[in-house]
Amino acid sequence: MRLGPVLEEKIRTLMGSYEREESALIPALMAVQAEYGCVDSEAAEEVSALFEITPERVEEVLSFYSLLQRSPGGRHRILLCRSLVCSGGAEKILKVLQEEYSLLPGGTSPDGRFSLFLCECLGHCEKAPAIMVDDRVYGPIEEGNLFSLLEGFK
């Protein structure tokens, strides 16, 4: 995917907002992902050209941070918290997601609606078990409210 002039401009603005441009690398990659759902190798290379750094430098960062994705997933991203307080409930949620939505960790549902990732503590332990769908966290999740929650995402 090509960045295009709007995204390029946005990245240049980010670069200008730090005292050193490279500080904007991670925010820039997040901006690409917000637009396209992932950062593929073509986009990564264009980002490296904008920053005047090697593509390997970008790759190094892309492969380190868990929120950055390199391939497009479903229309909505589900992060299922599997850390200690959520872990018991997460197993049950995982089972429902597998059975009802054919979702496996790291995979995408056949209808392209959801991608599922296991993640560590979402910082909502008082609402365990918690899940994040796109940019909001929900909890406590049980079978009943899981369906009604996910039905809201088309």
Binding site: P27, S66, S83, L84, V85, G88, C119, E120, C121, G123
Partner: protein, 417 residues
């Protein structure tokens, strides 16, 4: 005088807006601070016995004095809002409900130490916090609390929000700085410490969100007042994030030194269905677990350190008799395996071996040797890594394995489930 710092602010109507915050007395402390000498503010913070709320519990006033005197060049303040320690959600409440309290704390801190620019390093998953903090920064700038010549004084300071992209290790302050410089979050070898060589090689102070949010009340009411709220050498109240097997999980502001049982049974409503307490992790996942017998203990940094654990991030996770130690241990091992940054061999390979041993312990093939190996590998990581992550894995895993040895060996003996 009120003996709670956060409670009224967190529950105030529209407390997340500038208007709501000012209605609660917000930014009065900044006005007072700007009429004080920077040295007097540092003195108040020292008197307050405030200790770092991120996890290490280091005296904040002392940490502040590690910065060299201003030399006219850039010096940075970073608010560590990379809250990721399992069980911890206190900073989220500050960020979403009273973001101006953090900003006011940052501005006063910057004035006291001659810092020129502030960053809030926010974990990427806290999208709601990002919206609130971004709006608060804009509001504060409009009102003259941020920017050039703050409140018509000679002091200028700006704050920018920086969102992370998902990595627990970035809560470690030098990993955070690497990430803020656009690199992988690999902790730096210390010394030099960030106070002398931090962001872009310049003097940098990194404080946790809750720590910075304590500063306005210390300046307004005095360091000794703040100290009097807590216990000896443990000034102030603390935001305890209570979760797990309690009837009322949530955030509780209590004086440092409050008994752990009081938190669980009085404030938290006790354990559902009167089941038996099994154990408590008192300060985030990295704090070694306490057995039910060890839970009659004051929640302060020193008491927990004496008990071989730590107050850490103030995240209290409660387990009862229905929680299997195997699940607790396995979730813990998975966490550290997933979040090890991979820089140091003992930690990278050690967490991988722990994960494999744990998988075998959970399988039919598990034997006592695997349990012994787990304890030995956990111990072997300690003291052999660049950052405290290795020690955290080591101590957390060892405590779970040793304190619940009987249950684990019983499971291995074939009493599965």
């Amino acid at each position: 005088m009120n003996d709670r710092i956060f409670e009224p602010l967190l529950n105030a109507e529209k407390g997340e807006t500038l208007e709501g915050y000012v209605r609660q007395g917000g930014y009065a402390s900044l006005r007072k601070a700007l009429e004080m000498s920077p040295g007097d503010i540092v003195e108040e913070v020292k008197n307050s016995n405030l200790r770092g709320r991120g996890g290490a519990g280091f005296p904040t006033g002392q940490k502040w004095t590690f910065l060299p005197p201003p030399d006219g060049k850039a010096r940075y303040l970073v608010a560590n809002a990379d809250e990721g320690e399992p069980g911890t959600f206190k900073d989220r409440y500050i960020l979403t409900r009273v973001p101006h309290l953090l900003l006011e704390g940052m501005i006063i801190t910057a004035y006291a130490l001659g810092l020129t620019k502030g960053y809030i390093f926010l974990r990427g998953e806290y999208t709601q916090g990002r919206e609130m903090v971004e709006r608060a920064i804009a509001e504060a700038a409009d009102a003259g609390f941020l920017g050039k010549n703050i409140l018509e004084s000679a002091f200028s300071f700006d704050v920018a929000l920086h969102s992370g992209a998902g990595a627990y290790i970035c809560g470690e302050e030098t990993a955070l700085l690497e990430s803020l410089e656009g690199k992988r979050g690999h902790p730096r070898l210390k010394p030099p410490f960030p106070a002398s060589s931090g962001l872009y090689g310049r003097p940098t102070l990194i404080n946790n969100v809750e720590t910075l949010a304590c500063i306005p009340s210390i300046v307004l009411e005095g360091g000794f007042w703040f100290a009097s709220l807590g216990s000896q050498k443990n000034g102030g109240t603390r935001l305890f994030a209570l979760s797990g097997r309690v009837l009322k999980p949530g955030l509780y502001e209590l004086p440092l030194g409050t008994n752990l049982k009081e938190l669980i049974f009085t404030h938290g409503g006790g354990i559902p269905k009167n089941r038996r307490l099994k154990g408590v992790i008192p300060g985030g996942l990295s704090a070694p677990i306490l057995t039910a017998e060890e839970c009659d203990i004051p929640l302060d940094f020193d008491s927990l350190a004496r008990a071989g654990s730590m107050l850490g991030s103030g995240a209290v996770m409660v387990f009862d008799e229905e929680d299997s130690i195997l699940r607790i241990l396995s979730s813990t091992v998975e966490f550290y395996f997933h979040e090890s940054c991979g820089q140091c061999t003992p930690c990278r390979d050690g967490t991988n071996i722990l994960k494999k041993l744990m998988e075998r312990i959970l399988s039919e093939a598990g034997r006592e040797e695997d349990y012994r190996a787990l304890v030995s590998v956990a111990r072997g990581i300690r003291g052999r890594t660049i950052c405290p992550f290795g020690d955290a894995v080591s101590m957390a895993v060892e405590a779970m394995a040793i304190k619940y040895e009987e249950e684990i060996l019983g499971f291995l003996g074939g009493n599965h489930g």
